[in-house]
């Protein structure tokens, strides 16, 4: 399979693994498909790396990933952000062992002390005279991620020199990043250093297929609804439930409710669905927040900002965004059947404290491996990997809602949130990335 895929012997290429309404199960587990995804998808798409506020000062760095490759995101002396591979060019040792830190003098390899600047330039070699003229330091810079662009403080990297600009990649989805930033009464956005990670023994695409799936909660998370109802009885009625339990209850909404909501898909595999958590701030917060946003944006735009309620924008293939809950998640493929999901929360200086707490509670509920909801999803990802490993059913249908599109423009298509249109859209992007050699 490996060589067939990579060399197209016999005319079977990766794009042949995707049909209009079906996908071949090997895309979730085949190591050859995974290797090719790392090159052709993660090697070509813009990948969200970090927020400006995580590297505020010269020398600050964080370590992130583009596919399976670790990169160091450093603020250099001139305030620019540089992204290089986290790998020494001498014998390959990892340069930065920590997820975040400060390296104002550059990144020194702990093995033989080669020293690299933020942009990867090899600044000094230990015992240099011994190399004679055989090794020219100019040839041994750490690989630099060739394209780094930011949109409103969110830093993306791209390994493809020829890629279209970040704005083209974001397309209509930039409005979700606007939605997040516009919620700050000062325009300032801060990323919390406390992050929440889970992993599962399943494929990275499963998270993308799950997060906008509005049919599964009523089944997969049914027990959470039952448990929340049980607590409601114990505490004297649903009005006494805490918001977190309200979130568990929300999984019990009927399919007819989700059928009315819109799902918006866009070229590149991106999508989002209409808001449905139905959670509001307490009246005091609501008023103070509204006033703060009016002061910044004026009444019209403030109402628009607060009124926008999108649930989970998926920025294919590597991040998911929830503006209302000030949370961004990075989906990080590790192996065909191993994926890590990292949740970051953001706060807005000048906004009521409740908005920050809300983000923390949402992210804890939505991204902790201990979350009663997420633990169901993680279990099901693993069951799918197991079930797809045997038997003779090779193709997986993705045809739900196939004739239900509501409206299409150049930028997006609107359909019921119950449709699997977003999965078909993801695989259209997948096939386009993968089919291009």
């Amino acid at each position: 399979m490996a060589t067939m895929l990579e060399e197209r012997i016999g005319g079977i290429g990766p794009a042949d693994l995707v049909r209009d309404h079906e996908v071949h199960r090997s895309v979730y587990s085949d190591p050859a498909v995974f290797r090719l995804e790392m090159r052709r998808i993660f090697g070509r798409a813009w990948i969200y790396l970090a927020h400006d506020s995580e590297v505020p000062n010269a020398g600050d760095y964080v370590v992130r990933h583009i596919g399976t490759q670790a990169v160091i995101v450093t603020r250099d002396k001139d305030g620019a952000v540089k992204v290089i591979f986290n790998r020494c060019t001498h014998r390959g040792a990892t340069l930065c062992a920590f997820e975040r830190g400060q390296a104002p003098g550059g990144h020194m390899c702990p093995y033989h002390g080669w020293l690299f600047a933020a942009d990867g330039t090899l600044k000094s070699i230990s015992h240099k005279q011994n190399y004679e003229e055989v090794l020219d330091p100019a040839d041994w810079a750490v690989t630099r991620v060739p394209r780094v662009e930011a949109y409103r403080g969110f830093i993306f990297g791209c390994l493809d020199r020829e890629a279209a600009p970040l704005l083209d990649f974001l397309g209509h989805m930039s409005t979700t990043i606007d939605d997040l930033v516009d919620r700050s009464p000062t325009g300032e956005v801060l990323c919390s250093p406390y992050v929440l990670k889970h992993y599962y023994r399943g494929n990275w695409k499963m998270t993308f297929e799950n997060l906008n799936d509005t049919i599964h909660p009523g089944f997969a998370h049914a027990a959470s609804v039952v448990s929340a109802k049980h607590v409601a009885e114990e505490v004297g009625g649903p009005e006494h439930l805490k918001p977190t339990l309200g979130m568990m209850m929300a999984n019990g909404k009927p399919i007819s409710f989700f059928q009315q909501l819109d799902m918006v898909t866009a070229p590149g595999g991106h999508s989002y669905i209409g808001g449905h958590m139905g959670a509001d701030y307490t009246p005091d917060t609501q008023n103070a927040y509204h006033a703060a946003l009016v002061a910044r944006h004026g009444p019209e735009k403030a109402a628009k900002v607060l009124g926008l309620d999108r649930h989970l924008m998926l920025l294919y293939p590597s991040s998911t965004w929830h503006a209302r809950y000030q949370t961004v998640r990075i989906v990080r493929p590790v192996k065909p059947d191993l994926t890590e999901v990292i949740g970051y929360t953001f706060s807005f200086p000048g906004a009521p404290e409740e908005t920050r707490i809300n983000a923390i509670e949402y992210c804890t509920g939505a991204n902790s491996a201990a979350s009663p909801v997420i633990s169901d999803d993680l279990e099901l990802y693993e069951r799918m990997i197991h079930g797809n490993a045997w038997g003779d059913q090779e193709w997986i249908p993705m045809s739900r809602g196939v004739r239900e599109d509501r409206e299409t423009t150049n930028e997006w298509t609107r359909q019921p949130s119950t449709s699997e249109g977003y999965i078909r859209n993801q695989f259209r992007a997948w096939a386009a990335y993968m089919g291009r050699s």
Binding site: Y194, V231, A370
Partner: protein
Amino acid sequence: MATAELLRPEPSAADARARREEVRAFIEDEARLLDDRDFTPWLALFDEDCRYWVPVHPEQRSPADGVSHFHDDKQILMARTHRLLNPRAFGAEPSPRTAHVVSGVRIERDVVGADGEGELVVTSSQIMLEYRNRDGFENDLRMFGGRVTHTLRDRGGRFTIAEKRVDLINAEAPFNAMLAPL
């Protein structure tokens, strides 16, 4: 508890031993109730305004600092344990079986307020083995461990839990589904 707090009068060696024994038994019994999946009496150990907290970083001072693995009040604990007994909770199907090993129970603080109500801070080292009997799944035996800090209220011979904080030694690591409270 009331703000004015007094250290208990310096106890005799025998009293100190007895106190430690009493506290150790409480901490061990609490863990045993979890292993026995005896959740109703387990929940009853917790105060109404309790907090059950597993931070994502050893230096996290408060759950308001940022996200947590677990940040539960009594309601969430109720829902969590109800789920563990509900056969349709897929993440808990089959439900995890656990074995806690409790060691090094130490009373860090033992004070009594002007109102006569006592407050204790107790630390222990704990390891929890967890197993889910999923046919054919690898790595279904897992191990969690770290320092557990209990803040207890002494209600005249009966302890209740105001806060249970679990500092996992791998707090910053990614975790797969965690169903059983530690």
